[in-house]
Symmetry: C3
Subunit: 251 residues, 3 copies
């Protein structure tokens, strides 16, 4: 049994962080809240998502069989975004019908019955690889997003790196070159290091749409190493972590 | 002879209610004001439109032959919308040249000479069928329009119905279902009844664009029966009535 | 050597007046500021553009050889517009590397290295023809632009003329006709005359995009004669003049 109530804009922001990586996925409902871990179809990016119970105004959960600790449902997140777009600013009430495999959503006077996807038709939840990051940067989201938008006009890849006490983002096209360099004093935090990696701008762009409601993000970086981008929503009650594989520098 | 002056935004709102159903039509000018009755090309929806003389700041009308009581002109309403889009917030002065079949419009320093259509090339004005509606609902336009926009994402049809003291709108797709249910206390008025009909969303969507400047609409409903939607503009000086044929429920 | 600093919005407005006529061109940098004269690919419209040194917050210029008085660079103005779109409201710092043929632009923490075009691959700077205009009209830009937008819905050409103490703009389509007539009192200035010429709306539309940040424009007119449109930006520190060839009236 799962019944819950949550602020519409919080739920929308949550689902947007997920649709930055996948259109559909397995959502696990437990006593602690909602969880998802999913890899994009090309196996390049991963999201780990936790929506804590205390982010809800109301949260009721129980399992049918005694041994169980969670309910797994298959969700079409793109459709859920569409539904939330309809509802305005009201609270959203959610009610799961496990037998019928439906999720009832209510926003004010509006009821929407969403058919769930068969979880067995969805990809298996990925394992999180063990990683150690030598450098960590905390940056204002808007500065990061603006640079990503600019880089999109130049090429397909972007370098993220730390050079001593400077964090930089660099994109190079056939003709032109763009570079953002931020000293430690322009950042919220930085571990001095000398690392850099090349990433696909297409993926970073998707991710940067998912963080539009976030103030700061933490970038974990290494030398030709994956990027881990961490951030929180709803006063820390929602935690999201993106992992992105690096590209090989062709030089 | 016809010469008149009217507020540009009033005229624009009027023409928008007409273009929701037809692109062009016969406008009848009489001592009382302007009138139009027209059916859409597929014969599914009808509009009855009255723009009263007192909605004008200035209204001069006379007929050439003594027996006549009206002047009939063929109007391209899509073009008129375009012209009104140019003019900003000024008053619009209209002057008919019957012989040249031109309508002179003046908005501030801007003159626009609009060629009229040959009325004999346009469809005949339809008869209004005699109908009796068991149920009547008065609803805030915004609530109605919002639900229509949501339903468009689900399917092609929508059910409008009254179930006891509740008015409801229901759309069902292959997977999902949407329902808006409003009790009598959430409506401006409702006749308790048990009726419902299925309508084409495409037509209801068009109509709901025509009512964007209206606060409330009256829905007249029956059992598998046409929908009559009535509303007023410009403090009651403009009266519009849409009629929409029902679809046959396939269940 | 050229290094300068300028307000981003001023530079953007400047570049927009240029891209109304050409995508790329030769920019001449001198002790007095920046200059450009260019003809559109079809040889119908010309721009003369001057950005004075005092429009810059900082301006440093020197030539390598003693005899030289200017540096000529080949600029992709469409790309420059794109770069300025990235940078927000910060000042723009410009620094030319003549040997590498690069223009370094810095906006806050963001560096953009723009490759210059080879000036020899660009069209030669045109000569300005000697012209004498019998009539001059000074008009509010917004009134002019609004009429141009309206005329675009009617046809491909527009007449600009002066008839005694009235300035008029007239567009005629197959069916409809549009006319804006402004008396001397509705204009900032007018030389009473009787002249008119027909121009391509496509070109006038482009020009009217270039003047969106300008309050007034001066129109110099004659009988079947070119149009010269003059205006200033940045408190007179930027001066732009468009020249447009007339079309032959087919009547």
């Amino acid at each position: 049994m799962f019944e819950a109530k949550i602020d519409a804009s919080t739920l929308r922001a949550c689902v947007e962080t997920i649709t930055a990586i996948v259109d559909e996925g397995k959502l696990r409902i437990t006593e602690e809240g909602l969880k998802l871990r999913a890899v994009d179809p090309a196996n390049v990016a991963m999201i780990s998502f936790v929506l804590q119970r205390d982010a809800f105004d109301d949260f009721q959960f129980s399992v049918e069989s005694e041994g169980d600790t969670e309910i797994e449902i298959g969700m079409d997140f793109m459709k859920l975004i569409g539904i939330l777009g309809i509802g305005g600013r009201e609270d959203v009430e959610l009610k799961l019908d496990e037998n019928a495999q439906k999720l009832y959503t209510r926003m004010g006077s509006l009821d929407y019955t969403l058919s769930l996807l068969d979880p067995s038709s969805l990809r298996k939840e990925p394992k999180v690889p063990e990683l150690e990051f030598p450098a960590k940067v905390i940056i204002e989201t808007e500065e990061f997003r603006r640079t990503i938008r600019a880089a999109e006009k130049i090429g397909e890849n972007i370098v993220l790196g730390v050079d001593g006490e400077e964090f930089y983002m660099e994109a190079e096209g056939e003709m032109d070159k763009l570079r953002l360099g931020l000293g430690k004093e322009q950042l919220i935090d930085l571990t001095p290091e000398t690392v850099s990696s090349l990433y696909s701008l297409e993926y970073i762009s998707s991710m940067s749409k998912g963080i539009s409601h976030v103030e700061n993000i933490t970038l974990n970086l290494g030398k030709n190493y994956p990027l881990q981008m961490d951030f929180a929503l709803a006063e820390g009650k929602v935690k999201v972590s993106y992992l992105l594989a690096p590209r090989i520098e062709s030089e």
